[in-house]
Amino acid sequence: IELSPSDLEDILWDLQVSLLESDVAVPVADELINRVKNKLTGRKLGLREDPKKVAEAVLEEAMREILEAGEKVDLLQVVKAKNERNEPAVLVFFGINGTGKTTTIAKLAKYLQERGLRVVLAASDTFRAGGIEQLEVHARRLGVELVKQRQGADAAAVAYDAISHAKARGFQVVLVDTAGRMQTDRDLMDEMRKIVRVTRPDLRIFVGDALTGNDAVEQARTFNQEVGIDGSILCKMDADARGGAALSITYVTGKPILFLGVGQGYEDLVEFKPELILKPLLE
């Protein structure tokens, strides 16, 4: 039997609502529903098949396609390749205010240390009150080297300093923390471009908040256009986030999610797998 157009519309509408309720941005949800519609139109269903279940399976497939569309990025592999050329890998983290950049850097430092890599942190948030001190506390607790200057110093200069230090002392990875910034702020986006130009990073990492709604598309698109994104990290997934932002960001950038932040502790960082998003999203 074939689904009638009106039955299909009803099923698609329900799926669209659940996508939107899971924080998949409106245009991304539209795209997903269109793909499901194309796959289901004219499709014959077995007598025993539940059309709703079939549609959900097709939707899951469409979501997986988006999440796996980007080229694969293996962070450890990127580091290894750079180290083989006797150079430290440079990772620069950016995103809007309060998404979890500084905390993520601390978690990643621990993650890398546990894999035998020596890490240097660059305190390139030279603007925000307590920006340097926050990273300093994490560095001390983890026994990680930190390169800093005073508040108000040039962010790119601090990062460059950290990279020189890493090269001189044989450190394998440099993690560059930057100040939060709205993607609409001209001057701050210029500064970010300067940091990237000066540090020539191996990975430009966008850090987003999993609780963000439709703005995730705006942030990801503009940072990608203005700075370039090689991969993203989505924090605060433990806050009952449905993870729609992961789809929005991946769809807009074509680059993969590398990790998910799942708490405030140093251990709360997990390597990204589509299942981690697909499960809560379709709940």
């Binding site: 205010n97 601390a106 009150a129 994490h138 703005d215 995730a216 806050a239 986030a241």
Partner: protein, 290 residues
């Protein structure tokens, strides 16, 4: 004054040869899309647009009002209904006013505490702030630097591990010489049961005149459930929406108001101390609608 998206939708209505089912449905669909892209809670949007469609169909414009003007009026009524009664921040007479700031991680509490302190200090009040966030690395340094810039006294106990006792001590001490005491607390979300309980104990210990929920302007569909969870732990006096200087429309905040009944009193529009504005419903709505 209306947002672009709604303006466009109403233009279509105005140009339509007659207002029929299809025109109304199209207006409602456009409005729905605008509200969803603004992060307003999905169920809220569906309920609102269902009600609106019904009213547009049933109610005829009063004499002298065009079909289009009537539609605008109904849309505005329905949306303002979501915002609840406008309400401004009230200071207590004869005793220090104590405000406890709570909210999700990274929403902008610490920065907003400093902005509020600066705002009221400029108006001649003696303001003190308490750093009751004993968890976050560098929390005291952050508030201390901001407080200094704002010209207010900062109470903090770096190294202390009981935030509730610290909050009580800070409020008691600053209350002796301040008209307004603002208490900054650690970020928390509804799944962190221990932290939600800590917030309950903190409110109980300091007896605030107002508990202000700080909501990130970029917050999506989780706004409603998170705000509700906060309200269940402690009554909320008001909401402060941050980061509206970016591209986010703040629909999440609207959902938080609808879920808690707490009015929005201030908005944050940047990282500097001056970037605080008292809430203006028409401006917020215009931004929300595109």
């Amino acid at each position: 004054k209306l947002g672009k998206a709604l303006h466009g939708a109403l233009q279509k209505l105005a140009r339509a040869p007659h207002v029929d089912e299809e025109t109304v449905r199209e207006l409602v669909r456009d409005l729905q899309r605008a509200l969803l892209q603004a992060d307003v809670n999905v169920q809220l949007v569906l309920d609102l647009t269902r009600r609106l469609e019904e009213r547009l169909r049933k109610e005829s414009p009063p004499p002298g009002m065009s079909r289009r003007e009537h539609a605008v009026k109904l849309v505005y009524e329905e949306l303002s209904g979501l915002l609840g009664k406008p309400s401004s921040f009230e200071l207590k007479k004869g005793a220090p006013t104590v405000v406890l700031m709570v909210g999700l991680q990274g929403s902008g509490k610490t920065t907003s505490v400093a902005k509020l302190a600066y705002h009221f200090r400029k108006r001649g009040l003696r303001v003190g702030v308490v750093c009751a966030d004993t968890f976050r690395a560098g929390a005291y340094e952050q508030l201390s630097q901001l407080g200094q810039r704002a010209g207010v006294e900062v109470w903090g106990e770096p190294g202390a591990d009981d935030p509730v006792a610290l909050a009580r001590r800070g409020v008691e001490e600053l209350g002796r010489r301040c008209d307004l005491v603002l208490v900054d607390s650690a970020g928390r979300h509804k799944e962190e049961k221990g932290l939600m309980e800590e917030m309950r104990r903190m409110a109980e210990a300091i007896g605030p005149d107002e508990v202000m929920l700080v909501v990130d302007g970029t917050l999506g569909q989780q706004a409603r459930d998170q705000a509700e969870a906060f309200r269940k732990v402690t009554p909320l006096g008001s909401i402060l929406v941050t980061k509206l200087d970016g591209t986010a429309k703040g629909g999440g905040a609207l959902s938080a108001v609808a879920a808690t009944g707490a009015p929005i009193k201030f908005i944050g529009t940047g990282e500097h101390l001056e970037d605080l504005e008292p809430f203006s419903p028409p401006r917020f709505m215009a931004r929300l609608l595109g």
